[in-house]
């Protein structure tokens, strides 16, 4: 039995109890996929330090099995989004409460021809064959234990299909709300995005909590981009400070496609974003950027794996974060270049600002290169604000707390500037400013006196 096996059973029991009543039950491949999820999770157990991608984030908070699979979503209203501009972004809005689509809160307006946005549950019932080529195929479950657990519970989430050459002007905005059920709720949402040849769209995700209760939100997304497709993907995780938010995103990228991802994490006790991008055809452009803000005892983890499986692809990763209090950051990133992937251009960078002596970052950027004609680099920095910059601002009469604040904001806004949708960039910047006012200003003010 693997380590951690004692922790896995409670969740597996819940999965097997639920299995016969889950949507799509009776469809052969769906039953088989769930069983595969159950078996694989059973083999791994709750990920431990020895698992390559879980070296620095420990899930003991989940160990007791105290989270219960959420039932029908509570009839809550849509909570206020962290910032109004996000709510105002003209979008097709999809609202999930505890992983279930709430039609009454969603607003899909009129979708153009060739675009489908709906619940995975409905599709599993109506046309499961459309899901078969993708579900459990993009994500490599044998290497993603928490995605395997999610698969054991496979039941609902959001599905988007954009047909070839269709470009969706307005973004799809997925608002995912965690709400306490009877007790601490476990939610296992599964999302699927399938982009046809030359299709393009923008997907925004906002993950929030309806109340202060603890939730365990284990999100898995599978994104499939055909030749020349383009997806802008901005994710904002701001769940309640008692929640555990784990997200695993797998992206299959065909020749000439573009994936542009930005992840802003500031919520949850443990917040983790793992992105695995498979660059399967030549000429793919893949950007994975993110920022994080953490304080108290928060753990925030960004783990990436970029597989250059074809020549002439480009990948860029920049993750920047601010850690205060006793917060701990994790950046684990691997760029894997196979032997035939010549002319690969791959870069990754992790930069962390440690605002308190007890804040910590584990950064492990990694290159694994088997091709000989490549341009790759990686780097990681961690530390306090730049002394020269700080003195320059002070020497102009700017108060120390303001100066520090300006430099922190500058550090983060550079990364936010890369977000292609202006309203989203503005909104994330607002959030950063608010977070800094709430968490940083007073303390550094005091420290400077």
């Amino acid at each position: 039995m693997p380590d951690g096996s004692e922790h896995m059973q409670p969740y597996l029991d819940q999965a097997s109890e639920a299995s016969s009543s889950l949507p799509g039950a009776g469809v052969g491949w769906i039953d088989a996929l769930r069983r595969r999820g159950t078996d694989l999770y059973g083999m791994h157990g709750l990920p431990q330090r020895r698992h390559e991608y879980w070296r620095y984030t420990n899930l003991n908070a989940l160990a007791g099995g105290s989270f219960r699979l959420a039932g029908d979503p509570p009839a809550i209203k849509l909570p206020a989004l962290p910032h109004q501009t996000l709510a105002d972004v003209l979008s097709y809005r999809v609202v999930l409460v505890n992983g279930r689509l709430r039609q009454d809160l969603s607003d899909l307006g009129t979708l153009p021809n060739g675009v489908e946005v709906g619940s995975l549950q409905a599709l599993m019932a109506a046309a499961p064959e459309r899901l078969e080529p993708y579900l459990g195929q993009v994500a490599k479950l044998d290497d993603m234990p928490m995605a395997a657990l999610n698969t054991a519970f496979l039941s609902d989430g959001m599905a988007i299909f954009v047909d070839a050459d269709v470009s969706l002007e307005k973004p799809v905005h997925l608002i995912s709300v965690s709400a306490r059920d009877d007790g601490d709720a476990m939610v296992q949402p599964r999302h699927l995005v399938v982009m046809g040849r030359g299709a393009s769209s923008t997907l925004l995700e906002t993950h929030i909590s309806a109340d202060g209760g603890a939730c365990f939100n284990n999100v898995v997304s599978e994104l499939h981009l055909a030749e020349g497709a383009k997806l802008n993907h901005s994710v904002f995780q701001h769940e309640a400070p008692t929640s555990v938010h784990l997200s695993g995103t797998a992206v299959a990228l065909a020749a000439g496609s573009t994936y542009d991802s930005f992840v802003l994490q500031s919520g949850a006790e443990i917040g983790r974003s793992e992105i695995r991008a498979y660059l399967n055809g030549p000429g793919v452009d893949c950007r994975l950027d993110g920022i994080y803000l953490a304080t108290g005892k928060q753990v925030v983890d960004n783990t990436t794996y970029v597989e250059h499986a074809a020549p002439e692809c480009r990948s860029r990763q920049v993750y920047k974060g601010v850690l205060d209090g006793e917060a701990r950051g994790v950046f684990q990133g691997k760029v894997h270049v196979v032997r035939d992937a010549q002319q690969t251009d791959g870069h990754q960078l992790s930069r962390a600002l440690l605002l308190s002596p007890r804040a910590e970052i584990d950064a492990r950027p990694e290159l694994e290169i088997y091709a000989d004609d490549v341009k790759c680099s990686h780097g990681a920095t961690a530390g306090d604000l730049d002394e020269d910059s700080l003195f320059y601002l002070l020497s102009r009469g700017i108060h120390p707390h303001t100066a520090r604040r300006m430099l922190i904001e500058a550090f983060l806004s550079e990364a936010i500037g890369e977000i292609p949708v202006q309203q989203v960039a503005d909104d994330y910047l607002n959030h950063v400013q608010q977070w800094l006012s709430d968490h940083v200003e007073e303390r550094s003010d005091g420290a400077s006196q």
Partner: protein, 251 residues
Amino acid sequence: MALLEIRNLHATVDGKQILNGLDLKIDTGEVHAIMGPNGSGKSTLSYVLTGRDGYELTDGDILFDGVSLLEMEPDERAREGVFLAFQYPVEIPGVTNMTFLRTAVNAVREHRGEMPFDPMDFVKYAREKATDLNVSDDMLRRPVNTGFSGGEKKRMEILQMAALEPRVAILDETDSGLDIDALKVVADGVNAMRSDERGMLVITHYQRLLDYIVPDHVHVLANGRIVKSGDKALALELEKKGYAEFLEQAA
């Protein structure tokens, strides 16, 4: 009472003694020039005056309007009216010049009991000052010094001085890196700031600058102290003879 009085200043950097009993008095309305060989302590003096971390004063005092600066933090000194145009201005990506200038000017105005500018009024104020120094709107919108040429950075320093209206301005090699036209623009900017209420300390290696900004006094700094003072003729003399005489003296 002198505007700025430096008394018997001794200072170390990283434990290394750099300033060895420097005395200097600057009165309002005066422009003093300091010349001296590389490494003699000119920039160190400018950092000690502005209170930079790591520059430790081991003896002496600095009086500004008769009040010691030693107990004041760098930002307090700046708000009191001490300004340094850096020899090497710092690049700050992510902060625009406009925001930087407005934050600084408003901090100083509030300290003086004046109303802070609202953003719209400040744009007008900054543009006015910028025009005189050939600083374009585009430069004002860009991040602080980021990607600016050496000469552009120096013009931005003078713009900051013009916007902040300090009582004593220290210009550390503001002429280096300037082309002939930019030198005139900068010198005009500095001369426009000469007033009965303000003193200036101009650090330079070149007599040329002093043709444009004519100093009342010229000092030679060598081995961490003022070894000779005179009027502008001293600068011409140094241009001919160099510093050999002073370095020998010290050796």
